[in-house]
Symmetry: C2
Subunit: 230 residues, 2 copies
């Protein structure tokens, strides 16, 4: 009945790279840093200090250093970070130094839009396939040319094409059913656009984008603002 209180496991971890769970806030920021570095490299900047990076992109210098230092000593004291090097390290940390294939389940408006979304292609992601259960969609392609397959072929195509990430863009009612199929196909990382909480095994990483929650949160802000305007 009562949860036994964890007695503080000693976590030595002297030499970095321990596998204690990295916070999602941190991994999100790594991705942001990489984007910033891409911009800097495009602008011909060779080296950047955490301070300059923070100032330019409205971040916190200490946080940048901490985030990076967690994975290694990438900086040079007195100099900063070499843009090219740090970019390479970040790409490696984020696992972007290999081609990642993505399947989108749900070839409705949203699924089709995501399939052709240019941002996904940029950092080495390849939208390999769309999946749907509607017979008249199967066999078609998105405008950008991503083929639509039958959802029943998911497992087969995931294996065959080395797909490692799934994006869920199906109606709420079928979301759990679809995610069970995705999990059964062996995929370990899922980006979900369906509303509501989905259940996945612990070894599957589920990240949800809830558009309704986002909008309602904005509505809250407006409601508060209205009544407190001076």
């Amino acid at each position: 009945m009562k949860r036994t209180n964890k007695p503080l496991p000693p976590r030595p971890s002297k030499a970095k790279q321990s596998l204690d769970q990295v916070s999602e806030l941190t991994t999100n920021r790594l991705s942001v840093y990489l984007r910033c570095l891409n911009q800097l490299e495009g602008a011909g900047v060779r080296t950047i200090s955490s301070r300059a990076l923070a100032d330019q992109f409205h971040l916190n210098a200490a946080q940048i250093r901490k985030d990076l230092a967690y994975f290694g000593e990438f900086g040079v004291r007195g100099v900063g970070y070499y843009v090219r090097d740090l970019k390479r390290h970040l790409r490696q940390i984020l696992g972007l130094d290999r081609r990642l294939r993505v399947a989108i389940v749900g070839a409705g408006n949203l699924g089709l839009a995501l399939a052709d979304y240019p941002g996904f292609r940029q950092e080495g992601f390849e939208i390999a396939a769309l999946f749907d259960n509607l017979k008249d969609k199967v066999g078609q392609r998105s405008r950008g040319g991503v083929p639509i397959h039958d959802i029943h072929d998911l497992k087969k195509l995931v294996r065959h094409n080395g797909i490692s990430i799934a994006v869920i863009a199906v109606p709420e009612a079928s979301a759990q059913r679809v995610i069970d199929l995705v999990v059964a196909s062996g995929i370990k990382a899922v980006l979900n656009f369906s509303p509501g909480a989905l259940q996945v095994p612990r070894d599957v990483k589920l990240k949800s984008v809830d558009l309704t929650v986002s909008l309602e949160s904005l509505s809250f802000y407006l409601a508060r603002g209205d009544s407190e305007e001076s």
Copy 2:
């Protein structure tokens, strides 16, 4: 910082209601609670305890109580919360007890998909208009019938139609330009799908959904898992 303490609510909650900034994590959860209550009401449940709510939707009971108690005393000790009542209170807190009109800027794949996204319509949001700068898109409609206007008419239509929320679905390159137009039109709440950080005045609430960051964060998880599998 402002210090005006105002008892603002028209109806419920006797004490509480200081205006210190409510965390976004909290407002997001309020939206989640509302969705849970909708489900419960649909299932004919009349009353629910924080514990039961937590168990059923995998939340924490104390957190539910804290979140709610912040806005008033909505519960009944020994009983729990009346589903219907709490739903009404949450809708009022979230500002959903009025029709909120939304404009989507960018009538590309993503903008069109969002315009017809059923989840937005559910809780009283009305997608009033799409905006684009391409002449051949202006005058058309989304599949669901949302008209596409010229971006130059944004300010006029925002005022005329009482639009209070904008959704940004334009390419990265034009995002800041577009958001400046949106801000100039008087809109105070923005949901942004463009990558990168955008600048807005302090009185404008900007909420960003960064699809690239989400995917790269998943990639990180996969990269870690691969190398630490036992």
